[in-house]
């Protein structure tokens, strides 16, 4: 099949004043069995042999689990197929003559580094604020000494399936990171191991999310709709509830790392 692509090209990072624009590319001989990224690989090889800069896009595992890849295709994060990262999106989802617009995640907290690549280090800092159980190596009790109900374990796993790709932020009209943050809060708060730090974790992660410049949740639900792992918005409701509880009952000190150190 033949496709027309309009791709966001930006040489310098936004943080250093870089500006970008769309450029148009025609691609021919696209096989329906190719993945979307393989289609871009073929285009990039062509650009390189022509002595032009290839399109920079982030990718690594190409099996939908590392969370590296992602950009917006015709207004939808990761493209048109639900529960599918762009690396697992195959060209059989498109048809001959389609015109596609490819642009990076757009959010203040995700500044563009180059073309379709954005800086998502804000996600790491949200985890640093409390997305862990404070347990040093070697101090763990025997694994079966703390039973976990199957239901809790399953729901924790549902939330823990988040791959941190950032599609939720890209699709949210407020560029909120609520779904990402709530998924980690839910994963840990649902388990007995997460109980001692439940409130302080929630409070600190929410505060960090705000500090990074992400917006607030206004219950649109677009985040969950485009999430390649189908993380539920129920996690956000639960996080908000626990956040209110936390602001009533916990008072973190300035500079506290969350585990009394």
């Amino acid at each position: 099949m033949r496709l027309t692509l309009h791709i966001w090209r930006q040489k310098a990072p936004t943080a250093r004043g870089g500006k970008g624009d769309f450029e148009k590319y025609e691609v021919n001989d696209v096989s329906e069995h190719m993945s979307f990224l393989e289609m871009l690989d073929v285009l990039n090889e062509r650009l390189e042999t022509e002595g032009k800069d290839p399109i920079a896009f982030e990718h690594d595992c190409r099996e939908g689990i590392c969370g590296s890849c992602g950009f917006v295709i015709n207004g939808s994060a990761h493209g048109p197929v639900p529960r599918t990262t762009v690396c697992q999106l195959h060209m059989r989802s498109f048809k001959d003559g389609d015109e596609l617009v490819l642009e990076p995640w757009r959010a203040r907290a995700f500044p563009i580094l180059r073309d379709l690549i954005v800086d998502r280090s804000s996600f790491d800092r949200i985890i640093q604020a409390g997305g862990y159980v404070s347990t040093n190596t070697g101090s763990a009790p025997e694994a079966n000494s703390v039973p976990v109900t199957k239901d809790s374990a399953d729901r924790a796993m549902d939330a823990a399936a988040c791959i941190g790709c950032g599609a939720c932020v890209a699709m949210c009209p407020n560029a909120s990171a609520s779904l990402f943050t709530a998924a980690k809060v839910a994963h840990l708060n649902l388990l007995p191991q997460g109980q001692p730090e439940r409130l302080i974790r929630t409070e600190k992660m929410v505060l960090q999310m705000d500090a990074e410049g992400f917006g607030h949740c206004t219950n649109h639900g677009d985040c969950s709709a485009v999430c390649p792992k189908g993380i539920s918005v129920i996690n956000i409701a639960q996080m908000n509830r626990e956040y209110i509880e936390a602001t009533l009952f916990s008072s973190p000190r300035e500079g506290d790392t969350g585990d009394g150190a």
């Binding site: 690594d60 689990i65 985890i127 640093q128 040093n136 374990a153």
Partner: protein
């Protein structure tokens, strides 16, 4: 330099690690922050090591080329992690896990290392559960297990089909906690491009900031590589696109010997290649073989038919037929070769790619009938979805098509029992070292080894090393750092200046195809000789005719790839040479000349050793050093899974 002592403890194997832990030196808690340790890589091995060392109070710098440590390729491991907990009361023990792993590795691993691995396996599960890793559980709230290849007990812990992801996120969360505390300084989007050795000790690394292109150095009292395997030497593999041999190979060029590079693992259940544009292969977890039955048509004439039109009597369930006691759960090397044989025999299924059908069926019809579609979905739902997304076929209705693909590399930098390479102060952990899996790795053992090294071995052995050296305030202004930085800059400049006609990927694909043909599932002396002729020629062409666009002072993915492919073009030669030199078949290394009706024929009299290769210059023959293997507990026998 001959190989240094391997430092394997003497005395009974079940006391070896305990005794060693007691006899090793310690670093006083108050002194630890005076020591700086560099950890390169943030997968299971690197992240667990960096977090644990940070907790202990060392001053740690951790580097990864990805945008976040959470992206390391450990995340893609699906099936599970072994541990000798014996929760299922089915006769498991540390000794049995040790036995299975030594046997599974076809008697080419060190007994003492493997015993230690089995011993600490139980601590890993405890640690992961305490971190909040959501392992699968039974209704009673206790941990569930499943079986994996090469074992007759159920000892594999899992988190749906995302065990690697959950274990990595556990290690990553521990790492992020240390980053917040300031004990670990994380350097994402930063690639190690060389090792700096001063006065015979590893003292630091030279890196490239992948966002700005800046080249700089970091100095430390010890350097630890957890940089993964070299499966992408084959271009097509189940590894992530970024996986590379650069850190390990450049360390090897600075004096670290490379052990058993020809020991590569071909995983039997991957989605077959669909076309020439294919950029990577996708693995389907070995756990599928618990319930899926592998078959091909008995008659090549039936291969083009829809599987539903092939009668039960016309199907050859070849693993069940050839290996009745292990059946579909035969070890990976054996299952892979059996699939290749069936396809070479003209009995492969699926579409013709370049004139051959390369696929076998993995059929769940019996399992669906036995336990119901819902139960199958509960166990494998996400894997089935993944398969359908890629192939467009529904595995609940049509059997999956599978073919072997490069998956893991057992070879790696040589390390002693203390995980120290031949360069003092350079430690190597996880897949990047060679130590525990011999010639074949059993399923669910990679996660175990990465975390064993990082959480429970390195923190002790590194202390033993650091206790013997004094922090000396060395800075990156030292002439050794300046010199290596200069070499790194010159190499990148050279790559950028060629401006030839062929892309980096085209060279990588050509090398990969050659490696797969000549140094893949079946190897011959003739084929390896051919590869050893062709690789240097391809390397020469690369340095004359590659095109790398852009400059060094920006985010430049072509330049990143070019550096990695340049290293594969040197390293591939050592792989082939090792395979050529090892004139026997063992585990994943199958030399067609050495077989017993299709079964690997080991030669213990001549090859019961580790081959460690010393670099002597590009294009020069490396020097082979041998470390004899001793088997005092598990006596080498012909591996039989029949």
């Amino acid at each position: 330099m001959s190989l240094p002592p391997n430092k394997i403890p003497t005395g009974p194997i079940d006391k070896a690690w305990t005794d060693r832990k007691f006899s090793m030196k310690l670093v006083n808690p108050a002194n630890r922050r005076k020591y700086t340790v560099i950890v390169v890589g943030s997968g299971l091995a690197g992240a667990s090591a960096a977090a644990s060392l940070g907790e202990l109070g060392y001053n740690v710098h951790c580097f990864c080329f990805q945008d976040s440590p959470r992206r390391a390729h450990s995340i893609a491991a699906q099936g599970g992690i072994n541990a000798a907990k014996n929760y299922q009361n089915d006769g498991d023990s540390v000794y049995r896990l040790f036995y299975d792993t030594v046997k599974g590795g076809d008697f080419r691993a060190r007994e003492a290392n493997v015993y230690r691995l089995a011993e600490v396996s139980v601590n890993i599960i405890d640690q992961a559960v305490a971190q909040g890793v959501p392992f699968a559980r039974e209704y009673g709230g206790l941990l569930a297990n499943r079986s994996f290849g090469g074992a007759q007990v159920s000892r594999t812990f899992y988190a749906r089909g995302q065990t690697g992801q959950q274990l990595l996120l556990g290690a990553y969360s521990a790492l992020e906690r240390q980053i917040a505390k300031g004990t670990v300084k994380m350097h994402p989007r930063t690639e190690m491009l060389d090792l700096v050795v001063v006065d015979g000790r590893a003292r630091g690394i030279v890196v490239r900031d992948l966002t700005t292109g800046a080249i700089s150095s970091y100095v430390a009292d010890a350097v630890c590589l957890g940089t993964g395997g070299y499966g992408n030497a084959f271009y097509l593999s189940t590894n992530a696109k970024g996986c590379n041999v650069t850190a390990a190979w450049r360390a090897s060029k600075r004096g670290a010997y490379f052990a058993n590079p020809c020991f590569t693992q071909i995983h039997p259940t991957c989605i077959p290649v669909a076309g020439s544009y294919q950029s990577k292969l996708t693995l389907m977890s070995e756990s599928l073989r618990n319930d899926g039955r592998v078959w091909v048509p008995k008659d090549p004439a039936n291969c083009g038919k829809h599987p539903s039109e092939i009668a039960e009597a016309d199907r050859d369930y070849y693993l069940e037929r050839k290996y009745p006691s292990f059946g579909n759960l035969s070890p990976r090397d054996i299952a892979s070769r059996a699939a290749k044989e069936a396809c070479d025999d003209g009995r492969g299924v699926g579409p013709m790619v370049e004139g051959v059908r390369r696929g076998v069926y993995l059929d769940f019809a019996d399992a669906i009938q036995r336990i119901g579609k819902a139960a199958v979905a509960e166990k494998y739902g996400n894997l089935f979805e993944m398969y359908q997304r890629i192939t467009g076929e529904d595995p609940y209705e049509v059997p999956m098509r599978m073919y072997p693909a490069v998956h893991y590399t057992m070879g790696g930098l040589w390390v002693d029992y203390q995980l120290q390479s031949t360069i003092p102060g350079l430690f190597v952990i996880g897949e990047a070292n060679f130590s525990d899996h011999g010639a074949n790795r059993l399923g669910a053992s990679a996660l175990m080894q990465g975390l064993a090294d990082g959480y429970f071995v390195l923190p002790f052995t590194l202390a033993d090393y650091l206790a013997g050296v004094k922090p000396d305030g060395m800075a990156t202004t030292h002439s050794a750092f300046r010199a290596v930085e200069g070499e790194v800059v010159a190499k990148n400049d050279k790559l950028l200046s060629i401006r030839g006609k062929r892309t980096v990927d085209s060279f990588h694909r050509e090398l990969g195809l050659l490696m797969w043909d000549k140094c893949g599932m079946a190897r011959t002396e003739e084929g390896l000789d051919e590869a050893l002729q062709r690789i240097p020629a391809l390397r020469e062409e690369f340095w004359q005719n590659v095109t790398v666009s852009g400059s060094g002072a920006e985010l430049n993915q072509s330049l990143e790839k070019a550096g990695r492919v340049a290293d594969f073009l040197e390293f591939g030669e050592v792989m082939c040479l090792d395979a050529r030199t090892r004139a026997e078949s063992c585990g994943g290394h199958f030399r067609t000349e050495f077989q017993d009706e299709g079964e690997a024929k080991r030669n213990d009299a001549e090859y019961s050793h580790v081959s460690a290769w010393q670099y002597t210059g590009v294009g020069n023959a490396p020097v082979l050093h041998k470390e004899a293997l001793e088997f005092n507990y598990v006596h080498p026998v012909t591996r039989s899974y029949k």
